[in-house]
Amino acid sequence: MDPSEREKYQAAIHGDREAFEMIIRTHSRTLFAIAYGVLQSREEAEDVAQDSLVKAWKTRWRVRDPEKFPAWLATIARHKAHDVFRKRRTVPLSEQATEPIEPEPANTSALDQKLHSALAALPELHRAALTLRYFEEMDYRTIENSLGLTNGALRGILGRALTSMRKQLRPALTPMD
């Protein structure tokens, strides 16, 4: 890790608000992407990102190694997103039934809908990797850092994710060729 980065994380852990705000600027999109990967909803993902940042600030002293700060942030976001996800599942059936239709208004095409359902079918880690890649155009190294993966594992995950999406969307893709 870059020494200046490291220093920044160290300062944030020790309660330097400015350093922490800097981290918010650079990392909140990552957190959002991770949360989106789990929840598939922008509003909820944004809430989760916000909650994660506040929680991270309050419990920052738990991090011993500044190198692990970004991965730790990502873990918080993942856990928070899962919490929200779990709560959502306990919502009564009638509400749940209307939900999938409502957030996708007319402006989204049929392809979009298919894409979203294909995304929803992916494992959570795959989704997170995809969102990080396509939201933030992050390079593999940064994604690895955020999700705590090795290069090989990340390549495999992204490849499998793309393929499984491709297979599900094949009927929709062929006309475009």
Binding site: Q50, W61, L115
Partner: protein, 675 residues
């Protein structure tokens, strides 16, 4: 390029994402040229990638996202101001956490101590001492008043010390009380207090108030336990121990000093010791304010041995009694009124009369109590213990001799009666008893007191009756009326007391041998030689005490003979033993009883002799077979032993192993659950 073909998905994805190195890209493209299937996949993935890019780009957060995050964060995690922030940051440090925990524990211990009352009194005393030692400037007092009002127990002790310090309270202290009462009021009306406080205390500082104000202040405090200063009832007393040269002189001087300090001598008493020295006590009453000066003057009279100064606060008891007295007066008045109206039955009137008597008695008792307290408070009591120098010098010494005599006599009973007949006015027999124990042995114990001038003769006569085994005398010197180590003891007279003689008489048989010898004699005919030995003993004036004979299966015969001869015949018998056979293993043990006077020639010597013959040489315990048998038995024993040890080890280790496995299992479960 099987690997590329197998993992074509990830290769293609990485290629699209621009994450392949040059070499990898070349390899991939080469494979794509070769493989039609992968080319198709490549196309599809490219489309997929594009769709994803387009679609997900829509879902991307807007540019203001970071700003929203920051704003939300600032709102929900507000920055702490100065001190709070510092504290919170500090609490995060491990060292500070440890310190805080330690401080909390210490605090709990202290609270526990205070609750249980351990050290509580000494704490208060120390507090009070600090107060007296360093009186604070008057300005700082009012600010402390609030704190004082809160800390109840300590505050109660404080005015008392002030009273000692200065009987008439200065204006500043008075304002303090005012302040205190107001602190109580402040809890009722806190909003008013703030503005009122400053103006009032200013008024006090500006105008020196009359003493009535202080009392007023005291009254406004209502149920507060400490009344105004002037009304405190304190009994002061002191105890002084002095060593002086002359008792009468000292009493005169004390009287003079007491007069100087407006006191008086309450009581004196003196006592003459056996050595002519005087010891006594003087009780002086002085005014409390003169007490310290008086003590200083007294000290110069002689050597100060001890001084204690005490103060007893009887305020509460005093005022309680006072109140009860007032009630009793009211009661009395009412009873008198009842008698005056004289209505009702005679028996009722009698009852009233009786009650009146009881009340009056009580009133008198209480009045007496109050008077007593008044007198105690009015004057401080100083108890002076005086002792003349060299008090401990002894008057005389008493020499007491004690003798122990152990006698051996052939006939205990006869000797006992003979000694008994020695009794005369100068030889008193105080204790005589004849014992017979379970085995029929007789012994006697006697004690006698002999006049000092007769003692040597009497003891000499007793000694003749038997053989003296032990004679000891002890002399004890006791000082009369003082400490024997004190100076001047060499001048004291010496007196001889009666001699106490304790005699123990036992039968000769029981006497311990003066010399013990053991030896072995090897001979071929054990039987015969043993008989010879017995005859020899008789000839030398000895006695055979025990004799055994045994023959074992191997044909070995052993005879054990033990005999006792007087010391003077010992050598002769030892020499004659040579004629019996080969003498072996001679060991001689002599008891050195240097402390006792011993008649050596007649002292008994024990000789124990083993006469034996050799039997067959080869026994069952040797030979090849026996050795084999022993070896086998030993190895079996060793194997059993190691088995047992292994069992013990397993039994010891098993619980630990189970516990460790359990802990690891639970830990794994927890970690898995967390994931």
């Amino acid at each position: 390029m099987a690997t590329i073909h197998d993992e074509i998905d990830s290769w293609l994805a990485a290629d699209l994402h621009g994450e392949l190195s040059n070499n990898e890209r070349n390899a991939l493209h080469a494979h794509l040229l070769d493989c039609a299937g992968c080319r198709k996949t490549h196309q599809e993935i490219k489309t997929m990638n594009k769709i994803l890019e387009e679609t997900l780009a829509q879902e991307k957060p807007d540019p203001a996202f970071e700003q929203r995050m920051l704003a939300g964060f600032r709102k929900r995690a507000p920055q702490r101001a100065g001190l709070v922030k510092l504290l919170v940051d500090l609490m995060r440090l491990r060292a500070v956490q440890i310190t805080a925990v330690a401080a909390a524990l210490l605090g709990l211990v202290q609270i526990g101590r205070m609750i249980t009352g351990e050290n509580a009194t000494s704490l208060r005393k120390r507090y009070a001492e600090a107060e007296v030692a360093a009186p604070q400037p008057p300005e700082s007092r009012p600010s402390q008043a609030g704190a004082l009002g809160r800390s109840g127990g300590i505050a109660a002790g404080r005015p008392q010390d002030l009273a000692i310090e200065a009987p008439a309270p200065p204006p500043a202290t008075r304002s303090k009380f005012r302040e205190e009462s107001k602190a109580a009021a402040a809890t009722v009306a806190p909003d008013k207090a703030e503005q009122g406080e400053t103006t009032e205390s200013e008024a006090f500082a500006a105008t020196p108030e009359s003493p009535t104000n202080a009392e007023e202040a005291g009254k406004t405090r209502g149920e507060s336990p400490a009344p105004a200063l002037a009304n405190r009832k304190l009994i002061r007393n002191a105890i002084v121990e002095l060593e002086i040269l002359s008792f009468d002189n000292a009493v005169q001087k004390i009287t003079a000093v007491a007069n100087e300090e407006h006191g008086y001598i309450a009581t004196t008493d003196s006592e003459k010791q056996a050595n002519g020295k005087l010891r006594g006590q003087v009780v002086v009453k002085v005014l409390p304010e003169n007490l310290d000066l008086f003590l200083q003057k007294i000290r110069s009279l002689g050597e100060l041995k001890k001084q204690t100064l005490g103060t007893e606060d009887v305020t509460k008891a005093y005022f309680d009694t006072d109140a009860r007295l007032k009630n009793a007066h009211v009661m009395e008045q009412r009873l008198i009124d009842m008698l005056k109206t004289k209505t009702g039955k005679v028996s009722d009137l009698l009852q009233v009369e009786k009650e009146l008597g009881r009340v009056r008695e009580e009133i008198e008792k209480m009045q007496g109590e109050l008077k007593y307290w008044d007198s105690q408070v009015q004057f401080a009591t100083v108890t002076i213990s005086l002792a003349e120098k060299d008090m401990e010098e002894p008057a005389a010494f008493l020499i007491r001799e004690r003798a122990q005599l152990a006698l051996y006599a052939p006939d205990v009973e006869k000797t006992y009666n003979e000694i008994k007949s020695l009794a005369s006015p100068k030889v008193q027999i105080t204790n005589a008893q004849l014992n017979r124990d379970y085995s029929g042995r007789v012994s006697a114990q006697m004690s006698m007191l002999i006049a000092p001038e007769e003692s040597d003769g009497a003891i000499g006569r007793v000694k003749v009756f038997g053989r003296v085994e032990n004679f000891q005398t002890q002399t004890q010197r006791t000082a009369q009326g003082g400490n024997p180590a004190a100076a001047g003891s060499e001048n004291a007279r010496t007196k001889r007391d009666k001699v106490e003689l304790n005699i123990a008489i036992s039968r000769e048989e029981q006497e311990q041998a003066f010399q013990q010898t053991s030896l072995r004699i090897r001979t071929s005919s054990v039987d015969e030689k043993a008989k010879e030995l017995r005859a020899l003993t008789e000839k030398q004036g000895g006695r055979v005490r025990s004799s055994t004979f045994s023959r074992d299966p191997d044909g070995r015969a052993v005879a054990n003979v033990s005999l006792r001869v007087p010391m003077k015949n010992y050598l002769a018998i030892m020499q004659s033993l040579d004629s019996l056979g080969k003498v072996e293993n001679v060991s001689v043990q002599r008891q050195d009883r240097t402390d006792a006077q011993i008649d050596e020639a007649n002292a008994p010597a024990d000789v124990s002799i083993q006469v034996y013959s050799q039997g067959n040489i080869v026994t069952e315990e040797s030979g090849l077979l026996a050795t084999l048998r022993r070896t086998l038995a030993q190895s079996a024993g060793a194997i059993m032993w190691s088995l047992r040890m292994i069992g013990v080890a397993i039994a010891f280790l098993a619980p630990w192993a189970i516990a460790i496995v359990g802990v690891i299992w639970v830990g794994r479960r927890i970690i898995r659950a967390k994931r």
